[in-house]
């Protein structure tokens, strides 16, 4: 059902915005349990609620409806948070270590294209 995917989108947008379920629930005037059920797709999101959610998470309504196959497989999602974390680690490397990491990434890409 679409509402499971819509719920997943709400969760991703909320995490991107860096706010907790409790914080967003408070903004929306609902309980944290209700928001959790929206994110899990166990409760139907009505129009006036998605309007509020979209406004507070700064997304167009259509964002929550986009069909993206990546949503079906959490393991394939590399979000901004993960990239930021990796960048902060890379910055701690010296030139030699960075060069080794670069070669390793090249190897991963080569493997991916030759699988």
């Amino acid at each position: 059902m679409a509402f499971k995917e819509i719920g997943k989108k709400i969760q991703i947008a909320r995490e991107e915005k860096g706010i907790t379920q409790i914080e967003l629930a408070k903004i929306l005037g609902i309980t944290q349990a209700a928001l959790s059920n929206y994110e899990l797709g166990k409760r139907r999101v009505y129009f006036h609620q998605i309007e509020l959610i979209a406004e507070h998470l700064e997304k167009p309504i259509s964002y929550f409806l986009d069909d993206e196959s990546m949503l079906e497989d959490d393991e394939n999602i590399i979000n901004d948070e993960m990239l930021d974390l990796l960048t902060s680690k890379v910055k701690q490397l010296n030139r030699q270590e960075f060069s080794e990491l670069d070669q390793f990434i090249d190897f991963l890409l080569w493997r991916k294209h030759n699988e």
Binding site: A2, Y46, S62
Partner: protein
Amino acid sequence: MSNILLPQDLNQSLHECIQLLDSQSSVINNLSTTERVLAYYSIYCKNKLHVLLLPEEYGGLSGSFSHAGIIVETLAYNYYNTLPTLLTTIHCYELIKSFADNNKKKWLLNAVNNTPKPLAFCLTEEHAGSDITSIQTTAIKNDNKIIINGKKVIVINSGIASFYLVIAQSSKKGRAGLTAFLIPETADNISFEKLEVSSFLHSVIGTVTFNNVIIDTQYQIGDEGSGFFLLTEMLDKGRPLVAACCVGAAQHALDIIIDHTKTRKQFSRYLYDFQGISFPIAEFETRLHAARLLYNDACEKIDNNEPFTKEASMAKYYASRLFLDITNFGMDTLGYRSIIDASEMKLLNDFAKTMMFIDGTENVQKMIIASLL
């Protein structure tokens, strides 16, 4: 009947409406299909039942869904075949009322209210039924205009409506591209084809084709891409009223069965004295009571702004299945009387078969219920 009482003004509208229906139906039934549908609809309009859910400021009766359920059930008892026209119009008004931007809501509602004709809802396409993401009708924005192209099928009020509420794909494909538009009948390049659907005796059903139909952007309802939410919510809200219609008509069918089985003797006993007859009737009476409670519950949840989707699907699934079961039993019990042309039980049975898939098939209702567990 439900235990919920109607406010005095709604009660008066309903009873004046029934008086008009009772006094005029024998004349109206001799008219052509289109004339018949418009004549019945004009009686509903006279009593403002087409706008019973609209607030007074928009010319409506300010009725709640709970009130609407009782009114629909009461009318369905004798006039079930006239209700698809009315219910479709009520659904469309509800969508405009709930989702049009505040600054154009009054303008749109005035526009649709100033005509004696019903409204039509254009959703289903040849390749898009239960799966609305397959809709192929397009709405392309060009400056301040929108160009609509596509063909809708099984449209109730096709060719007789003043406005057509159309769900089309705008910029994107799939769910995210669905947008709602209100298209006036006066727009150029709309064509209609009537379909013969005998089960809906007092309805006009047909296809509606939009071939480069150009409308102003002010006829768009809600934001671009918001159509999925509008549509699913509108269908959800419509289901308890469809269920109420099934309950009213099913009660009529059951009353015919009870009357027949208590007056007809076979093997020196009334049919009703055979447990093979009276026990299923007892089961149906129980299920009818449950069906009434289910639609009442869903209506109350809508009125109280509580989640209602699951309850609405339960009400529709249960009531439409029960309606069909009762009329199938009626066809058996009444024997040859039920197959004679224009037999009330045959009309009820045909109507029940069609009601099974109005506002979503039985499997669609189960899919919705299961998804919310």
